[in-house]
């Protein structure tokens, strides 16, 4: 038995105009929550589509749970939530779910039972109202997303692939999604998500892979990735006045290599060889009121900017690659 849920080796996918994925090697450990990070057009969606066997790679191999990705037995162990969501608008909720279940090999009474369980669990079926009997287009956007989510998990897949799962989710559904991801992990399932929202990835993922322009930039466990990028960062929070003085200090490149300014909170990357204590003294001397000054590991966001930079963002062929 292999220890990887997904094992991608030297995969390349070309389109007429450009190379969408170039020589990508990627291993996703079983039972992990894995983030596929990258700007729009980096090749995330193309990679996911190859994992799902929607498109075939031009070169390289993809194995899912040790089997080739075009093995039909594999597809029934996968659950997929596409980036932009939608369902058959004129179809009744239960019939849509039954259809999706049957496509994954769950049939008859078994499918019906699971659908009932999920509808109750996500409050789509309450004593007052059974939304399962409504048509999709009679549901609110949030409810439609729940239905789609049920469709992804109905057949209890071992590998769940979520493409930009947080885009367009309201805070309540976003929390429900995070809870579910954690629960899936506890049950030993593997979850992959693609996102360009680093904050979410940092909080949820065990491991990440950053890709840009179709190539892998870095990958590994989140802790390792951060470790590797050192303790050269400072979190700084200010209270009230003295912003102008601080701004001048942060422009001093002998001390500060880069500062990410979120108005009253700064993530500062120290210049090579610079002393953080010297920076603190300068800030206090400038008269600013310091709420927090802490040595931190760089955030994924910082690492991402560092590694990919602005040049990593280019228009993808499909617009959501």
């Amino acid at each position: 038995m292999t220890e990887y849920a997904i094992d991608i080796v030297n995969v390349t996918k070309r389109y007429a105009e450009h190379v969408a994925v170039r020589d990508l090697t990627l291993r996703v450990p079983k039972g992990s929550v894995y983030g596929l990070l990258g700007p729009n057009g980096a090749g995330k969606t193309t990679t996911i589509r190859m994992i799902l066997n929607i498109i075939a790679p031009d070169a390289g191999s993809i194995h899912i749970f040790g089997r080739s990705s075009n093995d039909s037995a594999v597809t029934e162990r996968l659950g997929y939530l596409p980036e932009e969501r939608g369902l058959y608008r004129k179809m009744q909720v239960r019939r849509v779910l039954k259809f999706l279940a049957e496509l994954k090999g769950v049939r008859g009474a078994d499918a019906d039972r699971r659908i009932e369980e999920w509808l109750e669990r996500l409050s789509l079926k309450t004593p007052e109202k059974d939304w399962g009997l409504s048509k999709i287009d009679e549901l609110s956007r949030g409810m439609q997303q729940k239905v789609q989510f049920i469709g992804t998990l109905l057949h209890d897949p071992d590998l769940v692939i979520l493409d930009e799962p947080f885009s367009g989710l309201d805070p309540i559904n976003a929390q429900a999604l995070k809870d579910t991801v954690v629960e899936l992990k506890h049950r030993g399932k593997t979850v992959i998500f693609s996102t360009h929202m680093m904050d979410n990835a940092e909080r949820i993922c065990d491991s990440v892979c950053i890709i840009a322009r179709g190539e892998k930039v870095l990958d590994g466990a989140v802790a390792d990735v951060k470790e590797e990028h050192g303790q050269r960062n400072v979190a700084l929070a200010l209270d009230g006045d003295g912003m102008a003085g601080v701004a001048t200090i942060l422009c001093d490149h002998s001390l500060v290599r880069r500062a990410d300014d979120s108005n009253r909170f700064f993530e500062i990357e120290m210049a090579p060889g610079a002393d953080p204590q010297a920076l603190l003294r300068r800030i206090v001397e400038s008269g600013a009121s310091v709420q927090r000054f802490e040595m931190i590991q760089p955030s994924l966001h910082q690492i991402f900017l560092d590694k990919v930079g602005a040049t990593g963002i280019e228009e993808g062929m499909s617009g959501n690659g």
Binding site: L52, I54, P82, F99, L103, G151, S318
Partner: protein, 428 residues
């Protein structure tokens, strides 16, 4: 196979459950009965109308000829209101009487007037003036009545008694027409042309409607991204096949329901039309053998597969309904230009145009069934047409599946023809 069945089932059930399907299935037979019955009814009406009863006979013969003519026109004098009015006049008063009668017609009190005089008795001339003077059937009846009355007068002169004379001159001829084909007599000529037209129209309509249905279905799956979810579970070819077969089965269900209920309606036309207060029409339905029926459905199915797979390809390559309409215009041109030939083929079903069009897959699904309805088609031509159409279907499916599997994943701008040609060459 189980997954193909799942897709077919969804396509079929979702469409058959729709209101649109119920409405079309219910109104279809009424519509088709109407296109068959109305022309037949019009034909029946071309037997003289009741207008001829509402005439005035100006009799200047002084022999009672006018009264005899009136009886002859009425045919059955026991029915009230069928006897034309007879006015006896002298030759001198005739001009004045004609002027009065003209005014009556102008004021729509009467339909027209007949002038009979010495020349009429001699069998030389008679005159009619009226608002229905252009009605061929009415005029034929008046002319016949005058002829018969002259004949009766002459027979009377040579001493034939009244009874004998009636027996000899009463000829209630009902002239019906029937068409003969290589397979023998094939029902009324008019009815079979109407039937051929109905078949052609039905096929034409179905291909357009169900082709567009498939196109919107594919487009919906693409724009809602359901396609991606389905494609992560089944190969694209299975999805395409499931759609074409599922929607095809809907079309077939509807055709069978349409043909079945139309047949029953036509069988029951006499009581139905009597209820509607229209005189029953006597025409025989074209006799269609079971084999011919199966071949019709086969043409429908193959024609449907040919066009709907191409419509699916178009639906997969675009991003909105308005783009789809534009991109589908080459297909519409193919179908409409076939539609243009329906009438010429009906008029000359064995001509070169008809023969060529029934071999080309673009037009054969519509043209061949029409030819079969109106004339006998040699088995070799029939077989050739089916073989070419089957080859056309395979080519269309091949092309469509290649465009489909790439197109479904391409968002953004509409592809050019060159780009689509390149998609066809993609491995997958």
């Amino acid at each position: 196979m189980a997954k193909l069945w799942t897709i077919i089932k969804r396509e079929y059930l979702e469409r058959v459950r729709s209101k649109w399907f119920l409405i079309a299935t219910f109104f279809g037979p009424i519509f088709f009965s109407a296109i068959i019955i109305v022309p037949a009814w019009m034909a029946a009406r071309s037997k003289a109308t009741s207008d001829v009863y509402n005439t005035t006979i100006l009799d200047a013969t002084n022999t009672g000829f006018g009264h005899r003519l009136a009886v002859n026109i009425a045919g059955d004098t026991t029915i009230p209101g069928r006897m034309p009015i007879v006015k006896l006049v002298t030759p001198d008063e005739l001009t004045q009487a004609e002027s009065t009668a003209t005014h009556e017609v102008m004021r729509k009190l009467r339909t027209g007037y007949i002038v009979v005089n010495e020349q009429t008795l001699a069998g030389e001339s008679a005159r009619y003036a009226g608002s229905n003077a252009t009605s061929i059937a009415d005029m034929a009846q008046v002319k016949n009545a005058i002829r018969n009355t002259i004949l009766a007068s002459r027979l009377e002169k040579v001493g034939l008694d009244n009874e004998k004379m009636k027996q000899l001159t009463f000829i209630p001829l009902d002239f019906s027409t029937e068409r003969i084909t290589e397979r023998g007599r094939a029902g009324s000529g008019t009815a079979s042309v109407v039937f051929g037209f109905a078949i052609g129209f039905l096929l034409y309509l179905s291909i357009v409607i169900y082709g567009q249905t498939i196109m919107s279905g594919v487009l919906e799956e693409k724009t809602t991204r359901v396609a991606e979810v389905v494609m992560s579970s089944v190969p694209t070819d299975t999805l395409l096949a499931g759609k074409v077969l599922g929607v095809g089965a809907v079309g077939l269900t509807q055709q069978i329901l349409w043909i079945g209920t139309t047949y029953i309606l036509l069988k029951l036309r006499t009581p139905i039309m009597e209820k509607l207060g229209v005189p029953a029409i006597n025409f025989s339905l074209p006799d269609i053998t079971l084999a011919a029926g199966v071949i019709f459905l086969l043409f429908f199915l193959l024609g449907f597969i040919f066009y709907s797979s191409l419509y699916a390809a178009v639906g997969s390559s675009v991003n909105s309904e308005s783009e789809a309409r534009q991109a589908a215009s080459p297909l519409m041109i193919m179908i409409v230009s076939t539609g243009v030939f329906i009438q010429p083929v009906l008029l000359n079903p064995t001509g070169t145009t008809a023969k060529v069009l029934s071999l080309v897959p673009i037009s054969s699904p519509i043209i061949m069934p029409i030819r079969m309805a109106v004339t006998g088609v040699p088995p070799l031509e029939l077989a050739g047409s089916l073989v070419f159409l089957a080859i056309g279907c395979i080519a269309a499916l091949w092309l469509a599946s290649r465009i489909y599997r790439v197109g479904l994943l391409m968002y953004g701008k509409r592809p050019t023809m060159r780009e689509m040609a390149r998609w066809v060459s993609y491995a997958r």
